[in-house]
């Protein structure tokens, strides 16, 4: 008998669904749905009590509407009411609705919890299972609080039915994942492990997921599961295909459970007990042997299930990495799969081999398959498989085959799918650097990379090639010659122009002896690309030109001519114009000696890095930075243009380029050397300050552009969402700060050392003008002595659709926790609008990144070991845990993201120094994601406790 006979539908539901399916257009569908929603709403609201059948019908309709992608904002109460029904049908539909539509934040949880409590204590296994399902599906913190104590009892109680046990195990797992702190280990833990021995395979299936998760977190407490898992596995593997009856799937005994047992064993090192280990090795050998036996069925499901176990067994062998014999067998088996006709197997074989390649026992064995893998990269129809092939080539690469693999990857790049090009480029660049025996090969490879896939070459890659060329004398001449040749191509990628400009600017003299690449030829070649390039590249080229004047005095007049032309000296782009003006002046005023000093060859990169590192090391305890060091730091920042050492790009081309940095940062530097901002400058702004402080409207520390008339009302309290808005800007500097129906506020900001400048853009979204538009920036309370904020006046009138800009200068005097307040008042059609926001100025904005090596990092970490210097938070991920996104956020934070420092590659570590006027605060960060539990652990250590705490608070909201 079929479990569901086709007839028992509900008529109303069937009619509704077929109506929807007959709708000719999206509009018609929405109309029909709205009609139905209105109908259901009135039925729910009506006085007449609905019978169970009708309730069920309406809830089913709502589910269908929800599935089509329409919001359902009612019916929750009705569903909760259904839970307390005694009828299975009603209860079940109520639970269904809740598990599909109620999220863990819902306010209804308390009511639902009550119903669940009743069902759990009902001793009716069906009701208990429904309740357990509901907990597992919603899995909220409130539920964990209510039931985390109860579920383990149900799970291990002697009289619990098997089906309830199964549900209880997974329910507990869910609660453990969402709120590990609430699920307390106890007497039940040892009994849970013994569920691996349970008679009922379903119970084992459910329990093993729970045990695996618990073992990962508390390996010692669950150690006993290893021997139990081995004996269970051994019993399954050695059973005949009919022994396990219903758990035999297409002639394979209990494949799912076998896979899970093998996964559980991967949480532990090889068993120490010789007997257990012997038994396990026997199992693994049996599994490998079975793969060679003729199949018991031709059905794909049979081979699927068999291979599922085989792949898990191979993973375990790779995980143990201690049985050379098994490793080689595993490798051979995967080798067979590499050529299998099933695409799935080829995919998985490539994937498993990637991990195998890192084992010393099997690395050589993996390498024998290189031709097959290269062939897969060239011929596989499926991009997923090709990507795995590329991964494997990367993993099996070593000094002996690097040239072949890099060449193959380069040639594949020419036709590679767009989706994987960027990753391929990075891999080629890394391999080329890692295995470069002679650096001319390296330079060739990277230039080829730019030629073939220039669009996908990220800045890091071309920065890196420049760093290496600068640091290695032996390759500089070759590099100059090669880029010169590469630039001959009629169309070459802009990244090539950047590398070319930089290298010829530094080392063009090394090839100037050859008349074919004389200084003027070099210059003309570079300049022929100039007009096709974007502004940053042009800026870089201008710097290369001034370097040319130093390297080759004979080019001076030609280059000065170029700089003097209107298209440079009157360029509409400030950056280009400023560079042209300053370089022109520099070349005409400065003597050869001065020029030679200012435009000296770039120093090698690591030394620059280590100077920052040494500075951080010098600092011992909290606040122990002498004034001298500080001054030194500042001067260095000024002279070397402050950019982080890694960013070997444009700005550092010339030591003197700080003289010509774009105007905002130049101003920033000027701000510091100029009169103290806190000492009231004789401007209109300062007069207003006095007016306000007398009126006592606000703290007297602020500077404002507001005319007196507008401040008759008090500033509104900050909007409730202003903290959230603040959090949005912790890791970025630009964006929309606030938007409502009338007004949009955009932000652009930049920070250098302890100074910042923020541009606020107020956009009038209406067609009516805003009058008496005033803004006030204030530093409330404690913030006043810590932060100095100066706002330039803003136009009091904003036309409809227009935008005005306001500049705010910020100086960080000491470390701080609060944010400055921005109050905005204006009249729109006569009504006064008054709103306050927090300005997104947070302590991390004053970070200077600090590069350091692993050893130094941990030494420094240990030095900051006082308890109050550390702040730690463990929190749930509120965004997808994507590595690239996390990296981007950490970089946005302003610290240096340190690679290869943490022994666990999943973790992120960062270092930086916060620059305030009073002192510098060194900070170290460690972020440990746990993808399994969707949790993070964030640890901050700084020389100052308030800084650790504040950074920790800010960052915990970001992931």
């Amino acid at each position: 008998m079929p479990a569901v006979s086709k007839g028992d539908g509900m008529r109303g539901l069937a009619v509704f669904i077929s109506d929807i399916r007959n709708c000719k257009s999206k509009e018609a569908e929405i109309k029909r749905i709205n009609k139905e929603l209105a109908n259901i709403r009135s039925k729910f609201k009506g006085d007449k009590a609905l019978d169970g059948y009708s309730k069920k019908k309406y809830v089913c309709k709502l589910l269908f509407i929800f599935l089509l992608g329409h919001d359902i904002d009612f019916g929750h109460m009705e569903a909760v009411n259904l839970l307390s029904s005694n009828k299975y049908t009603e209860k079940q539909i109520g639970y269904l609705f809740i598990s599909v539509l109620v999220n863990s934040n819902s306010e209804l949880i308390r009511l639902i919890n009550n119903a669940i409590k009743n069902d759990l204590s009902s001793r009716n296994p069906t009701f208990m299972c429904l309740a357990l399902h509901c907990i597992a599906n919603v899995g909220s913190r409130e539920m964990a609080e209510a039931f985390a104590g109860e579920i383990p009892r149900i799970l291990v109680a002697g009289d619990t039915m098997d089906s309830v046990k199964q549900s209880a195990a997974l329910c507990l797992l869910r609660l453990y994942k969402t709120s590990p702190d609430l699920v307390l280990m106890g007497e039940w833990t040892s009994r849970v492990v013994h569920l691996l021995n349970d008679q009922h395979m379903g119970v084992v299936t459910a329990a093993i997921s729970l045990i695996t998760c618990l073992s990962q977190k508390n390996p010692d407490e669950f150690k006993t599961c290893v021997s139990l898992a081995v004996s269970r596995l051994s019993r399954i593997v050695s059973s005949a295909s009919t022994d396990l009856q219903d758990y035999t799937y297409y002639f394979v005994p209990a494949p799912w459970l076998s896979c899970k047992l093998l996964r559980l064993l991967q949480c532990y090192p090889p068993p120490e007990d010789g007997a257990v280990k012997g038994r396990l090795v026997e199992c693994l050998e049996t599994i490998l042997n079975k793969a060679q036996e003729p199949p018991k069925s031709k059905k794909v499901q049979h081979s699927n299930a068999k291979n599922a176990i085989l792949f898990e067994a191979i993973s375990l062998i790779i995980h143990y990495d201690s049985e050379p014999n098994l490793l080689v067998r595993a490798c051979n088996q995967l080798g067979q799969f590499l050529q299998h006709r099933e695409t799935n197997l080829r995919y998985l074989a490539l994937e498993s081999m990637c991990t195998l390649a890192s084992s010393e026992f099997s690395h050589e064995a993996v390498k024998t398959h290189i031709e097959t893998v290269i062939n897969a990269l060239k011929t596989e129809r499926d991009v997923s498989v090709r990507q795995r092939a590329a991964d494997l080539l990367y993993a099996m690469c070593d000094r002996s085959n690097a040239k072949q693999i890099v060449a193959e990857m380069l040639s594949y790049l020419e036709t590679a799918d767009y989706s994987i090009r960027e990753e391929m480029v990075l891999k080629v660049a890394i391999l080329a650097e890692k295995y470069a025996v002679d650096y001319s090969w390296y330079v060739d490879t990277i230039l080829n990379l730019i030629r073939i896939a220039g669009d996908y070459v990220s800045e890091e890659v071309w920065y890196r090639v420049i760093q290496i060329v600068i640091n290695r004398d032996d390759v500089q001449g070759y590099a100059a010659k090669t880029v010169f040749e590469a630039l001959q191509a009629p169309a070459c990628h802009e990244n090539m122009v950047k590398v070319g400009g930089y290298i010829l600017g530094e080392f063009g003299n090394l090839i100037a002896g050859d008349p074919r690449s004389s200084p003027l030829v070099q210059f003309n070649l570079l300049h022929s690309k100039f007009h096709l390039c974007s502004v940053p590249t042009r800026a870089l080229l201008l710097s290369a030109y001034i370097k040319f004047i130093n390297l080759f005095p004979e080019t001076k007049s030609t280059i000065q001519e170029v700089l003097r032309s209107d298209s440079q000296i009157r360029n509409s782009d400030v950056e280009l114009q400023q560079r042209a003006v300053e370089y022109l002046k520099l070349s005409s005023i400065a003597s050869t000696d001065v020029l030679a000093t200012v435009l000296e060859e770039m120093p090698p990169f690591p030394e620059r890095e280590s100077s920052i590192l040494a500075k951080l090391k010098k600092k011992k305890g909290p606040g122990a930075v002498s004034v001298n060091e500080l001054e030194e730091g500042k001067r260095e920042g000024g002279e070397l243009n402050g950019g982080g050492g890694e960013r070997g790009g444009d700005n550092s081309t010339i030591a003197a380029s700080n003289a010509s940095t774009p105007s905002p940062s130049a101003d920033l530097l000027g701000l510091r050397t100029g009169p103290q901002v806190s000492a009231a400058p004789p401007s209109a702004g300062s007069l207003l300050v006095d007016v306000f402080s007398e009126a006592g409207v606000n703290d007297d520390g602020f500077l404002s552009s507001a005319p007196p008339s507008a401040v008759s009302e008090d500033a509104a309290p900050p909007l409730p969402e202003s903290n959230e808005l603040l959090n949005k800007f912790v890791c970025k500097n630009n964006g929309v700060l606030f938007e409502n129906q009338l007004l949009q506020i955009g932000i652009k900001s930049e920070y250098r050392q302890n100074l910042g400048r923020m541009y606020l853009f107020y956009g009038n979204k209406t067609s009516v003008q805003f009058v008496t538009f005033t803004t006030t920036v204030s530093c409330p309370g404690e913030l006043h002595p810590q932060l100095n904020v100066q706002a330039k006046p803003v136009e009091p009138l904003i036309e409809g659709g227009a935008q005005v800009q306001q500049v705010i200068n910020i100086e960080c005097l000491g470390d701080f926790c609060e944010a400055p307040l921005l109050n905005i008042k204006f009249r729109y059609g006569g009504a006064l609008q008054n709103l306050s926001l927090k300005l997104p100025v947070t302590i991390n904005k004053f970070f200077q990144p600090t590069e350091m090596a692993s050893h130094d990092f941990f030494q420094r970490w240990k030095q900051l070991s006082q308890p109050q210097q550390e702040a730690q938070k463990i929190f749930k991920a509120s965004h997808a845990m994507d590595t690239e996104v996390i990296k981007a956020k950490l970089l946005g934070l302003g610290m240096a993201l340190l690679e290869n420092v943490d022994p666990n590659p999943e973790n992120f570590v960062c270092a930086g120094v916060i620059q305030t006027k009073a002192q510098q605060v060194g900070s170290l960060l460690r972020l440990e994601p746990n993808a399994q539990a969707q949790m993070y652990r964030l640890t901050l250590r700084s020389s100052k406790d308030t800084v650790s705490k504040r950074l920790c608070e800010l960052l915990a909201e970001q992931f």
Binding site: G7, K56, Y88, T89, V100, N137, A880
Partner: protein, 193 residues
Amino acid sequence: MIKAILIFNNHGKPRLSKFYEHYTEDTEQQIIRETFHLVSKRDENVCNFLEGGLLIGGSDNKLIYRHYATLYFVFCVDSSESELGILDLIQVFVETLDKCFENVCELDLIFHMDKVHNILAEMVMGGMVLETNMSEIITQAEAQSKMEKSEAGIAGAPARAVSAVKNMNLPEMPKNINIGDISIKVPNLPSFK
């Protein structure tokens, strides 16, 4: 862990969506669309695994799918699951549906959404596998049907529903998942008042 189970047809119309992690309704719909877009453009006979879309967590997650006649069954899982194991699980799910509905077709999923959810709940709970034994799952489903029938109140409904289904004007007549035609049995029940 299984992050989500999605069933949609060849045109991307969702027929079942079950998320084991919390997303907003909007995101759920976007994930369904994104997944359909990723899966539907793949040829037949390529492999059944691919990296998940950005919305559901990018390359940390895999989409494992099977295409049966008019329907795609897609499981989005993290790295703790065996790919081939999940393929088997999809097969068990479909075979179970086929047994419970007698030659299941797309229409069955549409008109018996609650039942499909219940069957799935017997297999997967909170993103983890509860039971893989088909006969056990079917026994549970049958027990539920029995309980529903015994609770009356709905006794009269079926007959008319069946006629409604039969008379429906279906723009795209879906094919059976396994075998040719749709076969809807008309049970001999008292007519609806």
